[in-house]
């Protein structure tokens, strides 16, 4: 029996400001897949992830995420996806613990899930009581990731998940992605760290100029010709 893709985009066009960031994207992502979205700066990677999160309006075409029409019911999609963006999505004046408590309770998750996620991300207990404002970039990134993980999203949308992290943080991210998929989630992530990202991904999709310029599957993904070779990375 054929299963419904977790993400199904058909000729999806998204405009950010006046700029057509995505100019007709067709993409299927199956349940349990880890899909790397690659491409040069401005290719539309962030917009693609935000569109799948229901945060960017789709001006034409169609988009279904987790079986829900994103155009008709963006709110129904949003509460089931987790987005790690360039921003931290944290209140700078609240402590790490208060941020986690707020975001987990808002999502209907338990406070203990927040603490467990902080532990998993390697956020030391001594910083739990510190204001986010006082943390380093890497620590903020870990807390931001923990807040997303604690919500137990079905679809993980990660924009540069390794950015700003040290080697141990990057390893933790890779292991979290693997665990999420093992637990039944699906992952799409954008990255410029192609060596590491291709080791994690089942499939890679290359965006260029707002359209999908190529795909590669399996362990030889990195060997496929890149239509924008040299631009990414």
């Amino acid at each position: 029996m054929e299963t419904t893709p977790v993400v199904r985009l058909r000729d999806a066009v998204a405009v950010v400001g006046r700029f057509p960031a995505l100019a007709g994207v067709d993409l299927d992502v199956d349940a349990g897949e880890i899909v790397l979205v690659r491409g040069p700066n401005g290719a539309g990677k962030t917009t693609l992830l935000r569109m799948c999160a229901g945060l960017v309006p789709i001006v034409s075409g169609s988009a279904e995420v987790l079986g829900v029409d994103v155009v008709a019911s963006p709110a129904a999609v949003r509460r089931r996806v987790g987005l790690l963006g360039h921003a931290t999505f944290l209140y700078a004046d609240l402590t790490v613990e208060e941020n986690l408590a707020f975001w987990t309770r808002a999502a209907g998750a338990r406070r203990a899930d927040g603490r467990a996620a902080l532990d998993r991300l390697g956020v030391p207990e001594r910083v739990h009581g510190l204001a986010v404002r006082s943390l380093s970039t890497g620590q903020r990134r870990r807390v931001s990731f923990a807040a997303m993980v604690a919500r137990r999203p079905e679809l993980w949308l990660l924009d540069e998940p390794h950015a700003g992290l040290d080697a141990s943080g990057r390893d933790i991210v890779d292991s979290l992605i693997g665990d999420a998929v093992a637990a039944g989630a699906t992952v799409m992530f954008a990255s410029h760290e192609l060596d590491r990202a291709e080791d994690v991904a089942h499939r890679s999709v290359t965006l260029a100029g707002g359209v999908i310029a190529g795909t590669a599957t399996g362990p030889d993904a990195s060997d496929r010709p890149d239509p924008i070779e040299g631009a990414a990375g």
Binding site: R78, V81, G85, T88, F89, D93, W103
Partner: protein
């Protein structure tokens, strides 16, 4: 929805407590206004006494604009507004939480203002029941309109300058009704005071109703 609104209100009040913007900046600004009006109008004590109700509500409105700006500025930082959209909280509960937090801050402001005016203007507050009723309903209206326009300010950018232009004209009826009601309560004008309270109640219901409905599209576009 009540649980979620309480969550948002608690978070807003905690943020305010941490940043001390209200206590450290908005309250001193309000007290400074009381003091400056006293300097400006003191030579004619009669004018100061007659203008007390109007000055009180003018200062409340100015301070409310600052409070609304601060309340929504934190949502515009570091992608938090996107996180709120993704959080699973309904826009109506976010709106109500914002309104509740604004009410709490405005009540503290009004109490401090009343004390400052009692000391500096030698104002005697009478008709406590009417004063409390009018203050409560006016505060509800100000918070209801403020929470709606706060998110509009986020959308348009330049909230510091735009918000007063958007919000103050909308709150002019609240200013008029609350001032008239206070004048009657203080015994400086004749007539029944409760019709003014009823009018404020109508404004509050309209602002809150429209805010709860419009907050979702306003938040989407922010």
């Amino acid at each position: 929805m009540i649980r979620d609104a309480a969550l948002v209100a608690g978070k807003d009040l905690r943020l305010e407590w941490r940043s001390r913007v209200g206590i450290g900046q908005v309250l001193p600004f309000a007290v400074l206004c009381v003091l400056l009006f006293a300097f400006a109008l003191d030579p004619d004590r009669n004018i100061l006494e007659r203008a007390t109700a109007g000055l009180f509500w003018m200062i409340v409105l100015f301070a409310a604009v600052l409070t609304v700006q601060r309340t929504f500025a934190v949502e515009g930082d570091d992608g938090v507004l996107d996180a709120l959209r993704l959080s699973g909280l309904s826009p109506a509960s976010i709106y109500l939480g914002k309104v509740a937090a604004l009410i709490a801050q405005l009540v503290v402001l009004e109490v401090v203002l009343a004390v400052a005016m009692a000391v500096l203007y030698d104002t005697t507050f009478r008709g406590w029941l009417l004063v409390a009723g009018i203050a409560g309903l006016a505060t509800l209206g100000i918070a209801g309109a403020g929470a709606s326009y706060g998110v509009v300010g986020l959308r348009l950018g330049g909230a510091e300058t735009l918000l007063p232009l958007l919000l103050l004209p909308l709150l002019a009826p609240v200013l008029i009704a609350a001032t008239r009601g206070f004048d009657i309560a203080f015994g400086r004008a004749a007539g029944p005071g409760w019709p003014w309270a009823a009018l404020l109640g109508i404004f509050a219901v309209v602002y809150l109703g429209l805010g709860a409905i419009l907050f979702r599209p306003l938040m989407e576009d922010a």
